[in-house]
């Protein structure tokens, strides 16, 4: 904690960064993002197991960018997102200073993104056993049961797009749902539209999702929509050996192997 604050202060005072993006105590037992621009505000910074929001999302926000170079408090899931963003040309070494926080809450300093990439090698992206079981349970259902499940689960969605806003990788300046030539996805939140939105979102995450769960955490009505992306992450691993973000090569959906296996094309 102190080492984090000290580092933050040092960075701000030295002018190395214009802002530190981290977590502070929120209302109730919640934590929330804080943007510290003035060294005296540094004490607001905290970090503990409750800090799950993926701060990498701010790296692509224009209003944050125009404030100058930030330092970002980043736990493993956030680090993954940063690497993916770097691969997608959204950030580079000069874009930010990373204040890494290890799972045992130690401060780790990284001088560049490839150091982060190396650090992450010990945490290769894989779906947790618990999640695997949940997915398995769904897969064991009959198609109709699954249909029932999803239509019921997605029915209450009212397209607030909090999931999109919370996802560091949903940074498109114009999302396909706002594209009306043609209107790919109905604007209104009716069953079909909801369904199409969530399928499309999952597909857009294919080979990119880092399973940070920000989307599900953000959903105001607790739709387990990260099950879809988890399913995809798992498929990506199974079908194409994808094992998470990389600075040089993670693009399973726009690359191929001539011997990709499939059992449904006649």
């Amino acid at each position: 904690m102190d080492e984090l604050r000290n580092k933050a202060r040092e960075l701000l005072e030295s002018g190395a960064v214009q802002m530190v993006i981290g977590y502070e105590q929120g209302t109730g037992n919640k934590t929330r993002a804080v943007f510290v621009e003035d060294p005296v505000q540094v004490p607001r910074l905290i970090f503990d197991s409750r800090c799950v929001q993926n701060l990498a999302v701010y790296m692509t926000k224009a209003e944050v960018r125009k404030k100058g170079k930030p330092a970002l408090v980043a736990s493993v899931p956030v680090l993954r997102s940063l690497i993916q963003l770097a691969y997608e040309n959204q950030i580079h070494d000069e874009s930010l200073v990373v204040l890494g926080v290890s799972p045992d809450l130690k401060l780790i300093e990284f001088s560049n993104l490839s150091e982060i990439e190396n650090y992450l090698k010990q945490y290769t992206l894989e779906i947790s056993i618990r999640d695997k079981e949940i997915l398995q349970k769904l897969e064991n259902m009959s198609a109709d049961e699954r249909w029932q499940y999803w239509t019921t689960v997605l029915e209450p969605c009212f397209k607030c797009y909090a999931c999109r806003a919370a996802c560091p990788l949903c940074y498109c300046t114009q999302c396909t749902v706002e594209d009306n030539r043609p209107q790919w996805v109905p604007v209104a939140s009716h069953p079909l539209g909801n369904f199409e939105w969530h399928i499309m979102r999952a597909m857009h995450m294919a080979g990119r999702c880092t399973d940070c769960e920000a989307c599900a955490n953000a959903c105001p009505i607790g739709i387990p929509l990260n099950l879809l992306t988890k399913k995809i992450v798992m498929d990506m691993g199974k079908s194409f050996g994808d094992n998470g973000p990389s600075l040089t090569a993670r693009n399973p959906m726009s690359t191929f192997r001539p011997d990709d296996k499939e059992n449904f094309i006649n």
Binding site: D144, W147, Q183, P186, H190, M203, L228, K231, D235, P258
Partner: protein
């Protein structure tokens, strides 16, 4: 009451399957009338959103077909498509969409007879499955989008 006639949309590539279907014609091989072909330059161009749209608009079944691996006119469009289908099909299945209604195939420009088989097989199979009511129900009371006109 007449037998159920499924509505089937076929998304095919221009160079192999579309040409193959032309050959079915020139060789006067007969097949079921239920299929309407939509012509794409390449399977690589086929957008999975269009499959959803087809179901949303009341299709009972879908055929997706293009060049055999290594035969792509654009060398690799079908390889990219194949990956897309692997992921998308698995996701559809995971969400309970009836993947038995989506028939994928490779049909080359020389396989006129195969095209007829693909269609007849799909039609028979989807006729057995009956109309895709569950999806139609989902689509009900969905106001029509402005951009059709």
């Amino acid at each position: 009451m007449a037998e159920f006639e499924p509505k089937i949309v076929a998304f095919v590539c221009n160079w192999c399957t579309y040409a193959g279907a032309d050959l079915t014609g020139t060789s006067r091989i007969k097949y079921a009338t239920n299929v309407r072909i939509v012509r794409f330059p390449c399977t690589g161009r086929i957008d999975y959103m269009l499959l959803l749209k087809a179901f949303g608009e009341g299709a009972d079944g879908i055929i997706v077909s293009g060049c055999h691996p290594n035969d792509c006119h654009y060398t690799s469009g079908n390889f990219h498509a194949r990956r897309r289908w692997i992921v998308f099909r698995s996701l559809m299945d995971f969400m309970g969409i009836d993947v038995r209604r989506v028939h994928f195939s490779w049909v080359s420009a020389a396989e006129g007879a195969k095209w007829a088989d693909v269609v007849n097989h799909a039609v028979a199979n989807i006729r057995d499955l009956g109309p895709y009511d569950s999806y139609k129900k989902l689509a009900q009371n969905t106001e029509r989008e402005i951009s059709h006109g």
